[in-house]
Amino acid sequence: MTKRNFVSTYSLLWVLVIAFITGSVFSCTDNSEAEKRLTSAQALMNQHPDSALAILQGIDRSSLSSDKGKARYALLMSQALDKNYIDTTTFDILQPAIDYYIDKGTPDEKLTTFYYQGRIYQNKGDEDNAMLSFINAREITGVTDTLTLAHLLVAQGTLYLRQYKTSDFVANNLEAAKLYGKIGRHILEIDSYAKALNGYVIMDDKAAADSVMVVCVPLIREFPDGEASLFPAMLGYTIDFCSPDEIKTFLDNYKDFELGHDETMDFARGYSKIGELDEAMDFISSVNPAPNTPDSLKYAAVKLDILEKQGNYEQALNLYKDYSAMLERYQNELLTQDLLFADKKHQLEVNVLQERTQKERFVWIALGVILLLIIIYQMWVRKLRIEHENDLLKIQTLQQNLFENGQKQNEAKERIQKLFQTRFHLLDGLASSYFESKETGQEQKRIFAEVKESISNFSSDETITELTEIVNGYNNGLMDRFKADFPKLSKSRFRFALYLFCGFSLPSISIFTGMELRNVYVHKSRLKSVISGSDSPYKAEYLRYFE
């Protein structure tokens, strides 16, 4: 390559590197701008959701390149729309959050995602999936976002009420009320207590309703803005549990207030209960509920009671027929919905999953144990057989290789061989029998045990004493001198030294001591170092046997 080409290539590389760094910096800058806006929107969400929505609508979604950024935007936008009472019925906005946070989000992010997923399903009228989303949200552990959790409990409570699970509805709202109270959201707290009170009135549990009233009354005194939330529940409580005079006082005090459909029907019910049928009819006639709704059922039930008390039996009968038809239709719709069974279905799925996991675990453990046992058994049997065969082969050649070559111990050698003669014959016979009975494991085992016993006789105390006498006799008391020079050596080392002084080969010593041959070499080397390092006058004589 010429110098010019090299320089231009080098420069091009530098340009590319600088371009890459600049691009990264600018893309980071753009991203961090969007991130700042998201953070601002998040900070304003609870107090000023309209401003939060405006900020979010001003963000260019294409500037968010990462999945995390898109998910954050999606979640915040869904929150802002919900808090601004804009009901969404599609997942177009929330989907990136569902895709990202459910697997990779923090507990709070997962909670919020499931909550808004459930809210969208609720807006669509898909109460079954809404309930599943809320159940999934409630199973998340480590949640710290108290406000969202409380909202979730209230939303799930609404679904419970639709299923006639009034006790679950009450439990959810009581729990939500406590959470709202903890974070200082007292209006919402009163609202939840009001719903719980309503629930107890439906369940006809005066004692429990009174316990809620005891909590609510001081709260209303402290936060009068909450009175509007509590009024419908108070109305129901008064009509169901109070005396006729108390009912009349209450109704007369509040009848001129601006009332909703539900409250108007309750007023009609109240006046009907205390016998003021004309007032009751006036109130009920002012209501015009949509057909085939829970409101129309309540309207029919209240009006029916008034007509019956007035003696208008014909009208009452006609209305009763309509009411029966409506009730049947409503209950059929409810039963055909999976909503009633959503939580049971979920529980069933969880149980099935747990069962599968346990089954899998059991199979794993069983397989592992069986495999391990088979391997261990095979290895043990094979190892034993090989070891025995190797040992017996060595033992068979023991007589021929008893002594080290070149050892000038002829007389002592003959004496020692005579000492071991019968034992060698026995060993030979046993070894031959072992190899002949190759097919019978039990027989081989027995023969090997006999061989081992015979070998142990070679190193018995009597044999050692006899060998010591031979060595002392033929070598001017060699062993006695050795013992006197090294009194601190262990018994096994003395024995080892004796075998060396007898001139036995290292393989023979290995058989007598039961040590592996390499260990025999090591012990010999160590003993040699001990003798070399000593001040014994007979050092040179001892070391001759270690050549």
């Binding site: 599968r356 089954k359 899998e360 592992g368 390499r518 070499y521 090591v522 010999k524 080397s525």
Partner: protein
């Protein structure tokens, strides 16, 4: 260097083969239990441990010839009379003993540490504990053979 790399790669490959077999067995058992669609073993922690194991096995294999030659030099100077092939056998045995010891410790500590998450990570905990116990067993067996050396 070449030899170290060779040992490292061989050990790494062996590790991959074992992990592959365990993975396959896991799939089969999942299929038998009827939960093949609920593949418990795909969480990130499994991947981290698998990679850590691969790196560890590569390092162990890579360092093996280096450490072995040090052991051989040491024992040769300590036991000049012992034949070379026995020195090598003793050095290999001692080195493997130390390897088994360290691997057993690491596996058992990690396995016990993750025991509280056994529901989430069953395969990982079982493999760590059983691996740790196996290496412990090998260590004890090896230690007996080279006792007093």
């Amino acid at each position: 260097m070449k030899e170290s790399l060779k040992y490292g790669l061989l050990t790494g490959l062996g590790y991959c083969a074992i992990v592959g077999v365990i993975h396959l067995v896991g799939l089969c058992i999942g299929y038998i239990a009827g939960s093949i669609d609920n593949f418990l073993y795909s969480s990130r922690l499994y991947l981290y441990f698998a990679v850590a194991g691969l790196c560890g096995s590569f390092i162990c294999g890579f360092l093996y010839p280096v450490i072995l030659s040090r052991y051989v030099s040491r024992y040769m100077s300590e036991y000049p009379d012992v034949p070379t092939h026995y020195i090598k056998e003793i050095s290999r045995g001692k080195l493997l003993s130390n390897y088994y010891h360290i691997i057993a410790l690491v596996c058992i500590i990690c396995g016990v540490g993750l025991l509280h998450s056994i529901d989430r990570l069953p395969l990982l905990v079982c493999v760590l504990l059983s691996g740790g116990l196996s290496f412990l067993f090998l260590y004890i067996k090896n230690k007996k053979r080279y006792q007093n050396i």
